[in-house]
Symmetry: C2
Subunit: 348 residues, 2 copies
Amino acid sequence: MSTDPTPFAGTLLGTTIAAVRPRDTAAEQAARDRLDRMTKPPGALGVLEDVAAQLAGIAGQCPAPLPTPAAVAVFAGDHGVHAQGVTHWPQEVTAQMVANLVAGGAVVNAFAAQLGADVVVVDVGVATPTAPAAGLLDRNVRRGTADLAVGPAMTPEEARRAVEVGIEVATTLAADHGCLVTGDMGITNTTASAALVCAFTGADPAAATGRGTGADDPTLARKVEVVTQAVARVPGRPATPDQALAALAEVGGLEHAALAGFVLGAAAARVPVLLDGVIAGSAALVAAALCPTALEHVLAGHTSAEPGHSLALRALGLRPLLGLDLRLGEGTGALLAMPLVASAARAL
Amino acid sequence: MSTDPTPFAGTLLGTTIAAVRPRDTAAEQAARDRLDRMTKPPGALGVLEDVAAQLAGIAGQCPAPLPTPAAVAVFAGDHGVHAQGVTHWPQEVTAQMVANLVAGGAVVNAFAAQLGADVVVVDVGVATPTAPAAGLLDRNVRRGTADLAVGPAMTPEEARRAVEVGIEVATTLAADHGCLVTGDMGITNTTASAALVCAFTGADPAAATGRGTGADDPTLARKVEVVTQAVARVPGRPATPDQALAALAEVGGLEHAALAGFVLGAAAARVPVLLDGVIAGSAALVAAALCPTALEHVLAGHTSAEPGHSLALRALGLRPLLGLDLRLGEGTGALLAMPLVASAARAL
């Protein structure tokens, strides 16, 4: 456990961690009392009652403000580990999908439109320069990570800067949105996710590594091998914020770093943050290691087909709202869970 | 297996069963092809892709029409088994909740309003006469069932009439709604549900019987005893439509009968029907025994905290869209799943 009273002092990351407060237990209890007084048997709304109470605790008021409008931030990055043949998709697909997302042509855009949610795309680490466009934030920290199979994916300083990109985006969006939703895009980012899950939970690479978007048997075997190599360089499960940042830099991705910061920024702003798939789940492990209290402000939208995702959620103690075997990313699974969060809030 | 070519000939039940057709496999395949051509990895939308294909197959066109507006039919009935002390709720609560539902004050009304769904309340078997009101259909077949612990809950003729109430409501609603949603209200109707689950699946009463809305340990033990007594009178798992109706009459409820008819009516009209909790799940077992093909048009909204519910869904081969430990009934869990059904349809 950390004994450092002010981790990352003098940085945005440090001040953000210091600003995160636990949920308001009085507001949370008021929500539970109110639910018990409604014309229904106590507890009959199941998990939705927990969500309703959590939302009140996050906001510090009962009833909590409605979690609308929601904003999805899609953090995009590339991965040097692509060179290891861990996917059959060309790396260029990341930049192509960023263009598609900005143009409104991806599935997450359709789901967001249905809900009246905003979509922001953030280039935090795409390998090729992205063309300026409305709805695209250029916050590129480096043009893709280094190959995590053979050495650190990035420096701790780069990792911190990418985390701070996520904090800044969350802080801006929290000003006029009731719920922040994680999204991601990055060819082979499930490899870095599996490595983070193993590094932060101690899980076996063979158990935590999945097929991502369609890896065949030899590719999956290669992926497990690469994750094993990478995790071997992490000297044990991170026990301090500094160690967490170091492990993130060693085996993570730039979008994972930004998503960890996004969680911290939302928590500091007292706005609920709804996680999408395994990329967000592994990033939330990093956020929890940087600042355990931040987790109190997190909701898990769904559990995906990727095995590392349920391992991450279990380690975080988060119960996913949906289980639909999705494996699309982009924030789609979280957006599908958004009506449940809204219903929970409306139940009060 | 049934060898009767025209079960219930000359009745609405008989003509409805005869009108049920399988899903359109060409439309279903067209939906799958279309999903594979979209800018996403094949299968990435998981269960939603199955739902999208199913909707196309039900409608017989691709893309399927949107499943909007939805209509929830809340079938209300009372149960003679109340006399056995299987719940701590007074029987009068059924009629009170019917009044509350009609007045728009129940949770299902709030969830329906949020979705723009219509709510229809149907008195198919409430013990006390209900006051006429807009939004309430008086289709009372009898004023509550007889005590299923000691003898048949109703006659096969009453069961058939209650099934036909459900068919008529479904047929009417299908004319101007894109999805039919099951709802129910009836104090101690989880007892009849458990009995139906045991009768139609062969499950052990101790495994299939749950606490409903808050039964304590002695009440639960009494409930298991009552279910065991009742199921002992059913001479084996129903293998023909006639045997299914007889088993329904022996241990079921009037709202269960109506819900079974509601499923058949929706299937005959080629409109998807979305199941709520254990009451609907046990009624769907009856519907499937009356007409196996009807099941092709059914979606399971959620799995509740009631153990008989997952047993029923497993026997039916239905995968629930949500698992939130709800135990409210009324149609609430199905309505919470409605946005997923709509998203699946919109994905095409």
